[in-house]
């Protein structure tokens, strides 16, 4: 059980690191949103599921309820994260920001 928890949390942390590194390394506004919006979503899913399993060590009604609340967090992040990413991209588009292309690398 503990091994499963550790695997989940390490997995989530790997995705969080990937998201952070991606924000720094990507070339422009739009491509930065790719790692920022989505690696984090999967990262939070893995970490919170790991914690929810860990929380079930003392198995009683309260800890089950607490785990359900944690899963609810994941559910709401899954709903709100794509919406937020989409609205940020939309704001960039409305402001008329051009996206980075391969051409700009060659120049």
């Amino acid at each position: 059980m503990d091994i499963l928890v550790i695997i989940f949390i390490l997995f989530g942390l790997l995705f969080f690191i990937g998201g952070a590194v991606g924000i720094i390394r990507m070339p422009d506004f739009y491509s930065r949103l790719h790692p920022a919006g989505k690696l984090d979503t999967l990262g939070i899913m893995a970490v919170v599921i790991g914690l929810a399993i860990y929380n079930l060590h003392h198995f009683d009604t309260l800890s089950v309820l607490l785990s359900i609340k944690m899963i609810l967090i994941v559910f709401f992040v899954f709903l709100s994260s794509p919406t937020a990413t989409h609205s940020i991209v939309d704001a960039g588009m409305r402001a008329g920001l051009r996206h980075w292309t391969q051409k700009q690398r060659k120049e």
């Binding site: 991606g22 070339p27 790719h34 989505k38 690696l39 979503t41 609810l72 989409h86």
Partner: protein, 184 residues
């Protein structure tokens, strides 16, 4: 004349019973959802708290039953079952695509691998919920972000490389269309 009015009246009343039944179902589902959320979030099972929770869920469900399930139809159950089949597939796709993005992010020559561009495609999706689901699914799948989605089903998608762009609209559109019973 008399029989005609009677017939009209009976038709009307049967329709009224049908609408009543439908709104009762919406009310009941809303109530169950509210009360379940109350139970999970409060985590206490004193009679007083249960009673208060039941009362407030009842009042909310009574006044706002048409917000969550505006027109209750039997199609809801079918959609729900199909959606619960779609969700695991979506999570699997998200995992697969996340590893792809992770590889790109840590790649030493990242800027040669990526090729951001915007693709536009038209779908025949009609209902708002289907369009929203597809737009959110596209955004959740790493490598692609929905830029705009209009109500007549035109999607503009920002893709980070050719490989993620090729997958669109393709199989995801078919699955979403199947979930909500629409043509591709």
């Amino acid at each position: 004349m008399n029989s005609l009015t009677k017939e009209v009246a009976s038709k009307k009343s049967s329709r009224r019973t049908a609408t009543f039944f439908k709104s009762f179902l919406s009310f009941f589902l809303t109530f169950i959802l509210m009360f379940g959320t109350w139970l999970v979030l409060s985590g206490k099972f004193d009679p007083l708290l249960l009673w208060l929770g039941g009362l407030s869920s009842f009042l909310i469900a009574f006044y706002f039953y048409d917000l969550l399930f505006p027109a209750f139809e039997s199609g809801y159950a079918v959609t729900f079952i199909r959606f619960s089949k779609y969700a695991p597939w979506l999570i699997y796709e998200i995992m697969k695509a996340n590893f792809h993005i992770l590889k790109i992010v840590f790649h030493p020559r990242m800027k040669e691998l990526i090729d951001p561009h915007i693709i536009t495609f038209k779908t025949n999706l009609k209902s708002d919920i289907a369009i929203t689901t597809l737009a959110n699914s596209i955004t959740l799948t790493p490598g692609t972000i929905t830029v705009t989605a209009t109500s007549d089903g035109v999607f503009k998608v920002h893709a980070i490389d050719r490989e993620s762009a090729e997958a669109l609209p393709g199989i995801m559109l078919e699955k979403v269309a199947h979930v909500f019973g629409e043509d591709v």
